[in-house]
Amino acid sequence: MLAKKGDWVQIELTILTPEQRAPQIPEDTKKVPLKARLKGFLVDEVASLGAVVTVRTPSGRLVTGTLVSVNPKYEHDFGEPVPELITIGLELRQILEETAEEKNLGGEM
């Protein structure tokens, strides 16, 4: 995919390589670099995914990194219906609407 100057894009950059990381972090984290993703408007005339580009961020900074997305989409969503949650409302309403008598009967069953 090609991006042109002024497009809203996302870049990726390495902030610290594994060797440069803080001494106190756990082993699994120490094995991987500290990376960042940020968005901005493309400064280069034209670029394809994977190219090293510069963007102007909303605060006005110029940042250089690898182009990973053009017009990046928000990918988080509402999730799927969760069976373990879906009946909770009905169950609670039933408890609320239960009369004392029904509760006693329920207890005997």
Partner: protein
């Protein structure tokens, strides 16, 4: 050319901070680790009246406080005779960016503008980012939010991704990092590069901003019920909410109201671990922040943290992820309020506490937060299942296993709390202090400071030290 290595930047920390917060913290140091907390709050903080005025300018505060009548009915149905306190909820989601964090951000951004800063930076993966971005938009300042967002496979926490989206909606630049405490390092790099104000969650301005919340609760409860509440339950993470709320309650005269902290139990998961990062389904309000920030508040991004929870916390309880998801459903279905989930941590605890308190007593849950994509229980649990968690109906405390099993209660009577004695937090505070300082002999000023910071007598502290000395 500045040296941007981790050690070089961390070595410049004090200097960067002084420029970025505009507070000379040195001025408040009395002796060793002792510092003049109240002096710092007084001199650089703002009075309740000033804060109310500042917050009113940007529509922050004065949120509704409502009785949860249907939930209270449910509590009466299942509580033992004579028990079942009434729960009231402070609907902080009605603030401009959807959480109490607007109170903190309002004062910080106002102060940044007053001092002439061109922009603000905040290191936060929480609602505070959106709050700072929203306030900066209103006051015409630039804004950068730094989040810890992804694991090393670029799997983002849905809740944090949503908070990032919200920040962008207010025009902020959002820097999304992979897991690691070096979030703080990179924030220093950005502060140095831009010369912006550090809108820290832990500055005296931020904490002064929350005092209005406690103050309003006291006023509203007095009006609604004729007296101050018996207890206020506060979701506890970094300690700011409990500190500010308690200070506000006291300023309004509510000295006998118990202040109870509540966190989601995520003990056993390492907060800086790349693998554990996406095995938790609450990104705030949990023990991963709650315990470390209580036992060593000055681990924060400012030299002296204005959030000091052990000065104010009367009791500390833990609830499970499953319980909070359950009460989030309860709040939506019984009260018509779709909120949370992280902000409902205190509601889950309040539900359990109401069952043990007398029916003529009152409890206030001091916050709610906006919800939606990424944040909803359905979003979090879909993600949990994708990450291999077992999600089931079951006993939420006995069957809960952070990082493995999320048990959603089968019945509201299963909602309970896990007690975490405040005394244990105080002992851990001392243990860490002694390790850092390498001594158990303190000056008179340090003793006085410890008595205040731990809200304990010298004798109590000496006994705790004697108890833990062997273990150090």
């Amino acid at each position: 050319m500045r040296d941007l290595s981790y050690s070089a930047v961390m070595a410049r920390r004090a200097e960067i901070m002084r420029k970025a917060v505009g507070i000379d913290y040195e001025k408040f140091i009395i002796d060793g680790f002792a510092f003049d907390y109240e002096g710092m709050m007084k001199e650089v903080g703002y009075s309740i009246e000033e804060v109310r005025k500042i917050q009113a300018e940007t529509c922050v505060g004065n949120t509704p406080l409502v009785e949860l009548k249907n939930i209270n009915k449910l509590i009466r149905k299942i509580a033992p005779k004579g028990k079942g306190a009434r729960i009231f909820l402070k609907d902080e989601a009605t603030n401009p960016s959807g959480s109490f964090k607007d109170r903190r951000a309002a004062v910080s951004v106002y102060h940044a503008q007053k001092l002439g800063y061109k922009g603000v930076i905040a290191a936060t993966s929480g609602n505070y980012g959106a709050a700072v971005a929203s306030q900066a938009a209103k006051r015409g300042l630039k804004c950068i939010i730094v989040q810890e967002c992804y694991d090393s496979h670029w799997r983002g926490q849905p809740e944090i991704l949503e908070k990032g989206r919200a920040c962008e909606a207010y025009g902020a630049e959002v820097v999304q990092l992979t897991v690691g405490p070096e979030l703080f390092y990179y924030t220093l790099v950005l502060l140095e590069e831009t010369g912006y104000f550090n809108a820290s969650l832990y500055s005296p301005y931020a904490i002064a901003g929350i005092e209005t919340l406690g103050y309003e609760i006291a006023e509203q409860m007095l009006k609604l019920t004729g007296r101050f509440p018996d207890a206020v339950v506060v979701t506890h993470a970094g300690g700011g909410l409990i500190t500010g709320t308690a200070r506000g309650l006291k300023k309004a005269g509510a000295f006998n109201t118990k202040v109870i902290g509540a966190s989601v139990d995520l003990r056993g998961l390492h907060m800086a671990s790349d693998t554990d990062f996406n095995r938790k389904y609450f990104t705030t309000g949990h023990t991963g922040f709650g315990i470390p920030f209580a036992v060593f508040p000055d681990r924060s991004d400012v030299p002296k943290n204005a959030a000091r929870p052990l000065r104010y916390m009367d009791r500390y309880v833990l609830v499970t992820q499953g319980e909070v998801f359950y009460v989030t459903e309860m709040l939506a279905h019984l009260e018509g309020l779709q909120r949370g989930p992280a902000g409902n941590t205190s509601l889950a605890a309040a539900f359990a506490l109401a069952l043990e308190m007398d029916e003529d007593q009152t409890i206030v849950v001091n916050e709610t937060e906006y919800t939606g994509a990424g944040k909803l229980p359905s979003a979090q649990l879909t993600f949990a299942k994708k990450m291999g968690m077992i999600v089931k109906r079951g006993h939420p405390i006995f069957e809960d296993k952070p990082g493995q099993v999320i048990a959603i209660p089968e019945h509201p009577s299963q909602i309970g709390v896990i007690e975490y004695p405040v005394e244990e937090l105080k002992k851990s505070y001392l243990k860490e202090l002694i390790k850092r300082e390498g001594r158990t002999q303190f000056t008179e000023a340090e003793w006085k400071f410890l008595e205040e910071d731990l809200r304990a007598t010298r004798e109590q502290i000496e006994n705790w030290i004697a108890e833990i000395r062997d273990k150090i």
